[in-house]
């Protein structure tokens, strides 16, 4: 197992290097520079600033410089935010986004699985249809609609919860709920479909023929088999939830990564764009590795190289 993880970590570095290279090139292809929006800068001033940030040098030199700094863990400084290092900006945004995302993922998946289980066990009954309606609504209605409705009713009309910002538990409730609806709907749908298939499989009849109780049938035999496809969808979803959801963070003024990334793109803030992109990529690859390891735990047929046998 250790050998396998080491090998994967090696691939991870290569992947990150390639991503860094491509996003650097793509970013340079974008029209404009971090200074484009500054109207009052004279040509001379511009030259001074460009020289200061090394933007006057050939792109290849800039690239090698960037990679050199990157290897040393230096992501550069922001062009817009008063020369703050990108690492510290990330450090400020990541915990907030991750907190929001993890809660939403956890709560959404938990209730989604409950709903999916209920729907599959009570297949073709009113419970199934009810769960179905909830999950179709959750999938098809964008999260900002829920966010807006929550803000209007819970926040403004009834005055129960604050409508914006991040920090206190009260402030966290509404963004988390709005963000958790989609993972709930998705996991409910997937688990339901998968459970119905598993419950109808031959080995469930074998288990039943042993005299196994209905409870053990579902939780000991069926659930584990039904979880495998769910893991596949939940991985990428976890990444997108935890790396800052632009819309929800914007609506609730949550100072997460999503906000920083949008601002970075809008102002051509090269170092912010590169920093967040690399962070997203790193996180995504990490989650994929975790998913692969999880597969091995849940499904013995997927034995990872370097396992016991």
């Amino acid at each position: 197992m250790g050998k396998y993880i080491a090998k994967r970590a090696g691939y991870m570095l290569i992947t990150l290097f390639i991503i860094a290279t491509f996003s650097f090139i793509l970013m340079k292809l974008l029209p404009g520079s971090p200074l484009t929006a500054e109207q009052k800068v004279t040509a001379a001033q511009r030259a001074i600033i460009e020289a200061k940030y090394g933007l006057d040098q050939p792109i290849l030199i800039q690239y090698f410089k960037y990679i050199g700094n990157l290897v040393q863990g230096d992501l550069g400084v922001s062009f817009q935010l008063k020369n703050q290092p990108v690492t510290s900006i990330l450090m400020a945004g990541v915990p907030v986004s991750a907190q929001l995302g993890i809660w939403a993922l956890f709560i959404g998946t938990f209730f989604g699985m409950l709903l999916g289980l209920l729907a599959s066990i009570k297949h073709n009954t009113i419970f199934d249809y009810g769960a179905n309606i909830v999950s179709v609504l959750g999938i098809s209605i964008p999260s900002f609609i829920f966010a807006g409705l929550l803000q209007y009713f819970v926040g403004v009309k009834w005055g129960l919860l604050p409508i914006a910002f991040w920090g206190t538990p009260e402030q966290m409730i509404m963004p988390i709920i709005s963000l958790s609806i989609f993972p709930m709907a998705i996991s409910s749908r997937f688990l339901r479909t998968e459970m119905i298939e598993v419950l109808g499989s031959d080995y469930m009849v074998t288990a039943k023929a042993k005299g196994v109780s209905n409870f053990a049938l579902i939780f000991k035999h069926a659930l584990r088999n039904a979880l495998i496809p769910l893991i596949t969808v939940m991985g990428p979803m976890a990444v997108s939830l935890m790396t800052g959801t632009l819309v929800i963070e914007q609506i609730f003024s949550v100072p997460g990564l999503g906000e920083q990334f949008t601002r970075g793109v809008l102002t051509n803030d090269y170092s912010i764009i590169m920093g967040t992109t690399l962070f997203f990529a790193f996180f995504f690859i990490l989650v994929i590795l975790i998913i692969d390891l999880l597969y091995g735990i849940v499904d013995p047929r997927i034995r990872l190289a370097g396992g016991d046998d």
Binding site: Y203, T206, A209, K210, G211, R224, D299, P300, R301
Partner: protein, 356 residues
């Protein structure tokens, strides 16, 4: 001999969007202690449904036991609750399923799967259960049980998996073992091994076996008695000798005639024309009438009752009525009846056959 199970007038139906599918329509038979009863018939004849109904393994809805009694040790299983059935399943009545590739849970160690029934029905510790499991795996001929008990189903071949399925079924020493086409999904050499194993085990554990198959060669090999099912009914039932050497029902003739033998190279197989009836709207008279070249007018009007041929042999065909014309089975069937005698029947029965 004592009856361990009596099935009386069992009806099983499935409620579908198209209407009620009458899969089993009044099946009655009994099972004696220690005997092997084979149930034969083509696909869709209701043989699997009948036996699944015995352990109440029919998915419900859509399936339901509409009518009838399943008497096991004085209890009518048809009326027992799900909770009471859970105590009987796996302990008194176990089932071996057809396809070993799909009938084991892929994410559970095989030892755990065998142990599960042991722990459920006996008050024993995990350690004891593991010991018993090792013995069971040994009994079914799985090599190196100590090493393999903690492996997963995908690490075994089809034949080995079927041995594990058999070990699961045998775990609690069931009084009735239902084998639902246990060799159909296996290749021929493995089939023979599994059949040998089952015969071996029957001697050791003294269970009664209900053996479902559509392979008459297998029947000749294992069965004491044979029930032939067609369209949800038993059309002929008797000892294996009676069914093989003195079949009375034209459908049984058809089955025997369609069985290939090694001896007759030139002779072509006789197919039974047509296809089984639609069980959504079963025919009024004898369900086999439209495919039966010996059908009489009455076959299309009224269902034949069970006519007694001997104390152990019954057949549901109007041909046995006293007014019916004398009909002999087709020659091909007659010759096959003799072939069976040499090809598939075990030694002791061969001698009996030679005498008759």
């Amino acid at each position: 001999m004592e009856n361990i199970l009596e099935v009386k007038n069992l009806h099983v139906s499935f409620d579908t969007y198209g209407g009620e599918v009458q899969a089993v329509r009044g099946v009655s038979f009994d099972l004696k202690k220690g005997e092997t009863l084979a149930i034969v018939g083509e696909s869709g004849s209701g043989k699997s449904v009948t036996t699944r109904a015995l352990a109440k393994l029919i998915p419900s809805p859509p399936g339901r036991i509409k009518e009838g009694e399943i008497l096991f040790e004085g209890k009518d299983l048809a009326t027992l609750s799900e909770r009471e059935m859970q105590k009987i399943r796996g302990k008194d009545i176990s089932t071996i399923f057809q396809d070993p590739m799909t009938s084991l849970n892929p994410t559970m160690k095989i030892g755990t799967q065998v142990m599960e029934g042991l722990l459920k029905h006996n008050k024993i510790s995990k350690k004891e259960a593991r010991k018993r499991t090792l013995e069971l795996l040994e009994l079914v001929g799985l090599p190196e049980p100590e090493k393999r008990i903690d492996q997963y189903p995908h690490q075994f071949s089809g034949g080995q998996r079927q041995r594990i399925v058999i070990a699961i079924a045998l775990a609690c020493g069931p009084k009735i073992l239902i084998a639902d086409e246990p060799t159909t999904a296996l290749d021929v050499t493995i089939q023979a091994q599994i059949l040998e194993l089952m015969k071996d085990i029957q001697k050791k554990v003294d269970s009664s076996i209900i053996f479902i198959t559509h392979d008459l060669g297998v029947v000749a090999n294992v069965a004491d008695r044979v029930a032939v099912m067609y369209a949800g009914k038993i059309v002929e039932i008797g000892t294996a000798d009676e069914i093989f050497y003195n079949p009375k029902h034209p459908y049984t003739w058809g089955l025997l005639g369609s069985m290939p033998t090694l001896d007759n190279e030139e002779e072509s197989l006789i197919a039974i024309p047509g296809s089984p009836p639609d069980m959504l709207n079963p025919p009024i008279g004898d369900a086999f009438a439209t495919r039966n070249e010996y059908a009489m007018e009455i076959d299309f009007v009224e269902q034949p009752p069970m006519f007694k041929v001997s104390d152990t042999h019954y057949a549901a065909t109007w041909l046995l009525h006293e007014h019916a014309p004398k009909v002999e089975p087709p020659l091909a069937v007659q010759s096959r009846m003799k072939d069976n005698l040499h090809a598939n029947v075990p030694e002791e029965r061969k001698k009996e056959g030679d005498r008759s």
